[in-house]
Symmetry: C2
Subunit: 429 residues, 2 copies
């Protein structure tokens, strides 16, 4: 295929005629498809039948330390669940607190606590004139929504396949005491599916923050969410790296089983240093009497151990992998060589990141929507929903069926072509 930018005006006009006709036909199909959020599909949820049907008997409700999971107590989680999550992240159980059903709300609380109470004795952020967070972009919209709600200024940091631009990160963190945090999805990043390189993790651990209360918000949401059995994004364990580098308290790590068992009915965890754990627990004592220990027990009894959990994740992969590949095949076949878009080829996680020609993303998403295919809003992957290049689109392959996905992707590539041609035609005005 010839690159679109090589085409002359007449060729582009003819192409437009053809694409536009196809688009009008597509609209008449009346599709209603959704590739907007990282939701597991019904097939994945059906697979959890045994988990759903799990019965904990009356004789079986105590932890290995003899605590009754049906009653109050054990603020920071049952030991068995701590071990399961710590094995998931290659850390020690004593560095883990097990929370409720949502790691997002734990991240929210972590920011809220830092705002109101401060971090390890430092001035609460709400008392400061200015608080800034670094935001590797494109990134996860719900992270940015948290810091926006608290009035924290967000600074874009470009991403590469190795992770955030560490020269920039070092400059901001080491020089500006108003920079208090950075949002990271270090493994199978949202939306690109990149895994931070060893060098990136080591440079994170070796930061010399101008602010003593600077923290890395390490959202390890896809720690065991591989798509292939023989390929895995290997991520260095950050807590021990920080410790080795003399920054033991610099990171809060988050995880959950939302995409292991059930979204909304899983368990979440925080990993941190002893000092951070102590502060979090002290604040938690006021906030709650404890989380749902029966659900923690259900997870432990279902998976037995980390091996059980990892084997289970391969079953998810078997359902998800063909969907990723179906999209990638359509993209390669239909857009290869046209130079009007680039996309990532993740080996794990829940998303594909697509970069259209500059100034085209909003229009592509809009055109898809008009024809019945909902994508994540253009701009959503950037702080304040502002993509400076109006280029990035997040594709979430997991929820629709393969059949639906092919239809949706066909429409998507059609819209990419159509909008790109329209954009290129502007050069001839």
């Amino acid at each position: 295929m010839k690159a679109y930018k090589e085409l002359g005006k007449e060729e582009l006009l003819a192409l437009w005629e053809d694409l536009n006709r196809q688009y009008e036909e597509a609209k008449e199909k009346g599709l209603t498809l959704d590739m907007s959020r990282g939701k597991p599909s019904p097939a994945q949820l059906d697979m959890e039948k045994d988990f759903l049907g799990m019965v904990i008997s009356d004789a079986d409700v105590t932890t290995e330390t003899g605590v009754d999971c049906r009653n109050y107590g054990l603020l920071d989680g049952i030991p068995e669940a701590k071990r399961l999550l710590s094995d998931m992240l290659n850390v020690s159980p004593e560095n883990v607190i097990v929370f409720g059903n949502s790691s997002l709300s734990v991240m929210y609380d972590t920011v809220a606590r830092s705002m109101v109470l401060g971090v390890l004795g430092n001035t609460p952020w709400c008392k400061l004139d200015k608080v800034k967070f670094l935001c590797p972009v494109p990134g996860y919209d719900r992270h940015f929504a948290i810091t926006e709600q608290f009035g924290i200024e967000m600074i874009n940091i470009p991403m590469s396949e190795d992770g955030p631009d560490m020269d920039l990160v070092e400059k901001y963190v080491n020089e500006d005491p108003a920079v208090k945090g950075i949002w990271c999805v270090p493994k199978y990043s949202n939306p690109q599916g990149y895994t931070y390189s060893d060098e990136t993790v080591k440079r994170f651990a070796a930061l010399k923050p101008a602010a003593k209360d600077f923290r890395i918000f390490w959202d390890n949401a896809y720690a065991i969410h591989d798509l292939y059995e023989d390929k895995s994004g290997d991520l260095l364990e950050i807590l021990s790296e920080c410790e080795k580098a003399g920054n033991p308290d610099m990171v809060y790590e988050f995880c959950s089983t939302s995409k292991v068992t059930f979204p909304g009915a899983g368990i979440a965890g925080v990993v941190a240093s002893a000092a951070n754990i102590e502060q979090i627990k002290a604040a938690m004592t006021i906030q709650t009497i404890g989380y749902d220990k029966l659900n923690q027990l259900r997870h432990v009894k279902y998976f037995k151990n980390i091996d059980g959990m990892k084997a289970h994740m391969m079953k998810h992969a078997d359902i998800i992998r063909p969907k990723f590949e179906a999209i990638e095949n359509v993209l390669a076949k239909e857009l290869g060589g046209l130079e009007i878009g680039a996309w990532t080829k993740p080996i794990g996680g829940y998303f594909i990141s697509f970069d259209a020609m500059e100034g085209c993303a909003k229009e592509i998403v809009e055109k898809c929507k008009e024809a019945g295919v909902v994508l994540t809003g253009a701009g959503a992957t950037y702080p304040y929903k502002k993509d400076p290049k109006d280029s990035n689109i997040r594709i979430a392959p997991t929820f629709p069926s393969e059949e639906e996905l092919r239809m949706a992707t066909d429409l998507f590539v059609l819209c990419v072509k159509l909008v790109s041609v329209e954009k290129l035609l502007q050069n001839f005005r």
Copy 2:
């Protein structure tokens, strides 16, 4: 029995000899009993066998509106669970949001949100020089811990059998714009077991707050927690009273099933006006993707409706009632006529409130502890843990067995007598 204060020095000394000998003997028994917290007993938890064993089948995971409870979605709760909680509190389902496993954390979040974001467009409380809460006393220690953590000044309001001293409440709320809230447990109050009278509720609803963002924090924790089938503390429904009085937005009501099904594995709810609900939901959108809908479904399928829930509560009552009565019998038999203590006789809730002679509570709790019986710390029922009269002790009858309870109460009355005699002897120094 003769009142202790009528006794002369010699009589008191002889009495002390006898009581102290009994106490030394009691210490040798090596008791380890706990009457400190409102925890359900193992017998109550065992009763929930069927709830624990409930299986939701794959075919049965959608709400009545067709939403899959296994996936993300329905931020504010499934309709069936909204209805169950709304029936529990005699309000409309559209005034309900269903949360996770803890109403305490919802109350915490409500204060936190008001601090950071403000209430319905008013200045966030953290930006104000001074924020005050009224605290009916004695009251619930975990309420006071929340407002203390946020640096909110707490003002004691005396309680009577009809509820808080409303003359004082009106004076503070209607005159001081720094007064932003009041903590209430309106039915079977913690620790007295009092239910606010109709007049009290109506006076609450008719407040004319100096602060537009004043809110009543109405913790209806024991809404259906009667001890008797034929006696119930009837509480006027506050939301509609506030509406009638022209103050529709003035109240946040909280509830949970922590003491209906399982502590830590129940569901919690907030009841509020449309405007408040809208603000809470807007904030929640940032905070979480949603709570555990499978657990909401479990509750609905188990109880079917409010009648099922109320019938279930009578089974709890059958277990708890004898414990309350056992304590009351010992108190009446051993302390009746001595004029060294007064106690409440609740018909619902989880606690009995005991008032010792002034200056005796700490010493009584300490003496009990020395002999192996743990009570809620003296002072805990007051803000800042400071009981100005050092008189109030909260008794939590539910967790120990009846046998244990009798032993614990025997020791308690012994300590009350001993400490009272020591106090009275000080008059003869």
